[in-house]
């Protein structure tokens, strides 16, 4: 010990000095400049499209015509595209549908996933092994598109909003992540609650859930993002355009470039519609906004969530 202690500060000192982070020694300046440049380009490539669509959605007809299409900076920002889209009509309806599916779906997913994860969180409990097996096997054996479609059809869910919720309600991966958080809670805590006569439900709601708030929040956000982004289920199961969620509207009017007619957006009578580019960009922005709003909450915890999932899954 005495022989080691003098060497410690000497060894630690210079390491901290030239490298604040664990990892390789930093390279020579040209190397570092090159790497910074590459990372900068990556960041620009990700952010540039967002800047372009936000600007275009705020541009007025004159500027869009002058630029011939998309623009990087609006001269006279106007919200006419948004007000045309959100004052009733197809897009407002789709926003409502998407928000509704996301809220109801996330709530149901969380409820059933938490309860399933908690039910599986004590190895050796009744039915633990076969149920866990069924959960894990569902990751390996995925029913194809056709059988899934037939099932939803058989249940009479075609054209029903439930077809957008029920088939994706349980995500085995998320359940496994939740379960491993629950299993990390000290056993003594749960045992002592039980000895005090607490039922399993009150153990779950009063001890386990408060201790895993962060992970429940992340899983909830993951579910929410999935519901918001779901496109294929809507394509399969919702034939009635009046019931379309945002992603279907986005596909039809932006990706497939169908023209929005006056009847589908509720522009003031007689007023000309904002330019098509602005409308398309505005639809895009509207379908990204919810993601961007929840994003800060999401990224705060997601590293941890993803790691646990990767290790256990």
């Amino acid at each position: 010990m005495t022989t080691l202690s003098p060497t410690h500060p000497v060894r630690r000192g210079p390491r901290r000095a030239y490298s604040a982070i664990p990892g390789e020694t930093p390279g020579t300046p040209p190397w570092r400049a090159l790497k910074s440049l590459i990372l900068l380009i990556c960041v620009v490539l990700v952010l540039l499209p967002f800047l372009a669509i936000i600007s275009t959605s705020l541009a007025d007809t004159a500027q869009v015509t002058k630029a011939g299409g998309y623009i990087l900076w609006p001269d006279n920002p106007s919200f006419s595209a948004y007000s045309a889209l959100l004052s009733g009509g197809l897009v407002s309806k789709a926003m409502l549908v998407s928000v509704g599916i996301t809220v109801v779906g996330t709530a149901l997913s969380l409820l059933s996933s938490i309860s399933l994860a908690y039910g599986l969180s004590r190895p050796g409990s009744f039915g633990h092994k076969p149920i866990l097996m069924l959960l894990l096997m569902s990751l390996l054996f995925v029913p194809g598109v056709i059988p899934s479609y037939l099932m939803v059809k058989q249940l009479g869910l075609i054209n029903s909003y439930w077809s957008l919720i029920l088939p994706t309600m349980i995500n085995a991966f998320n359940v496994i992540v939740l379960r491993s958080f629950f299993m990390g809670i000290p056993k003594e805590l749960i045992d002592s609650a039980r000895i005090d006569g607490a039922s399993e439900l009150s153990i779950l709601t009063r001890i386990v859930l408060p201790l895993s708030k962060a992970s429940v929040a992340v899983i909830g956000l993951f579910y929410a993002v999935t519901y918001w982004n779901a496109f294929f289920n809507a394509l399969l199961y919702i034939n009635d355009a009046a019931k379309w969620p945002m992603q279907m509207v986005l596909r039809t009017y932006v990706v497939n470039n169908a023209a929005l007619s006056g009847g589908q957006v509720d522009a003031a009578a007689g007023a000309p519609l904002p330019p098509a580019q602005s409308l398309q960009a505005a639809i895009l922005v509207l379908s990204i906004v919810p993601i961007v709003i929840v994003y800060p909450f999401l990224q705060r915890h997601m590293n941890k969530g993803v790691m646990v999932g990767a290790v256990k899954g």
Binding site: G69, S115, G119, I146, R251
Partner: protein, 325 residues
């Protein structure tokens, strides 16, 4: 065992104390935790209903399925549906070839991208800049494919940003979207744009666990930066890379279903039809239920066999793989 329980039970009712704990410990855990079973039931029902019952629906792969008669009454047709596939149906072969090409392209170009990005991120000196860059690069992962495809159209389409820029500088236009020959490159760059940042999470975590002393020792021995990367960093990532490659193999026949379906209209089927879109186009759109279900079934089975097989091979080479058996 049971006698101890019985005699201890009245004692438990009498009151608190050291004695009350003993019978609880002694009761078999399985029966003690029956209540937990009920917690698992709602989720289990959803899982059975939308995951396992549909698996049975694969039966129509062996049927001459008629939608208006239903699964129960459609006549069985043995392996007829599979016959159409393996005896050189041109459209099926085309889908298979495109799928395998795309898998290969993605393993070569998409798979290493997050590793390289993680290496670059890992060597950033400022922790704050690193966090910020990460948060920006993660973002596209959370966008839907519809949004990503729309963004690419707005950027690279005929009237998109890039072509407006090229026109303004009198370089002409470059048709990227809707060009069959560039379709596979377009798909690949979309995947890279969307998920490379997200993919770095696992690699960065693995990198942060590398013992710093290894780098110091290597530096002491005169290893250059490049050699440090080669001899210390990359070996540290080996297990993870193998794990991810095995998992990727399971998806060898699934290449960007939504992504391709969204853009198929513009480029024609010749270059864009893959297994998943074949199933969709033939089954749900074309009404050829039995054949599509057969393709879907074969595709799923091949995926399972590939994952299990690759895992086995990984074990043979002394790697951990997806699970230990």
């Amino acid at each position: 065992m049971t006698t101890v329980q019985r005699s201890a039970a009245p004692a438990a009712e009498e009151g608190r104390g050291a004695d009350t704990r003993r019978p609880r410990r002694l009761r078999p855990a399985g029966r003690r935790d029956v209540a937990l079973f009920w917690f698992a039931i709602p989720g289990l029902i959803v899982l059975l209903l939308f995951h396992y019952v549909p698996l049975l629906g694969n039966a129509i792969a062996f049927q001459d399925y008629q939608p208006y008669i239903g699964i129960m009454h459609s006549p069985w047709s043995g392996l007829d549906n599979f016959d159409v596939l393996f005896n050189g149906d041109d459209q099926f072969l085309r889908a298979l070839v495109n799928t395998l090409q795309l898998t290969l392209i993605q393993v070569v170009f998409v798979f290493p991208a997050p590793i390289l990005l993680a290496l670059a991120l890992n060597s950033l000196v400022s922790e704050r800049i690193k966090k910020w860059v990460q948060n920006v690069l993660y973002l596209p992962h959370f966008l839907s494919w519809v949004v990503v495809v729309a963004l690419f159209q707005q950027m690279l389409g005929n009237t998109g940003m890039l072509n407006l820029f090229l026109q303004a500088h009198d370089v002409g236009t470059w048709n990227i979207i809707g060009n069959p020959e560039l379709f596979k490159s377009l798909l690949t760059s979309q995947v890279i744009w969307k998920d490379t940042g997200w993919g770095t999470i696992l690699f960065l975590a693995a990198l942060s666990r590398v013992d710093n002393d290894l780098y110091e020792a290597a530096a002491m021995d005169g290893a250059s930066r490049l050699r440090q990367t080669w001899h210390v960093t990359l070996p540290a990532l080996r297990g993870l890379v193998i794990l991810l490659l095995i998992l990727r193999l399971g998806d060898a026949l699934s290449v960007g279903f939504e992504q391709i379906l969204l853009q198929q209209g513009g480029v024609g089927l010749e270059n864009s039809e893959v297994m998943d879109t074949y199933v969709y186009n033939h089954g749900l759109i074309g009404g050829d239920w039995g054949v599509s279900a057969a393709v879907g079934l074969v595709k799923g089975l091949v995926g399972v066999v590939l994952v299990l097989g690759a895992n086995k091979v990984a074990h043979l080479f002394g790697e951990e793989g997806v699970y230990k058996s």
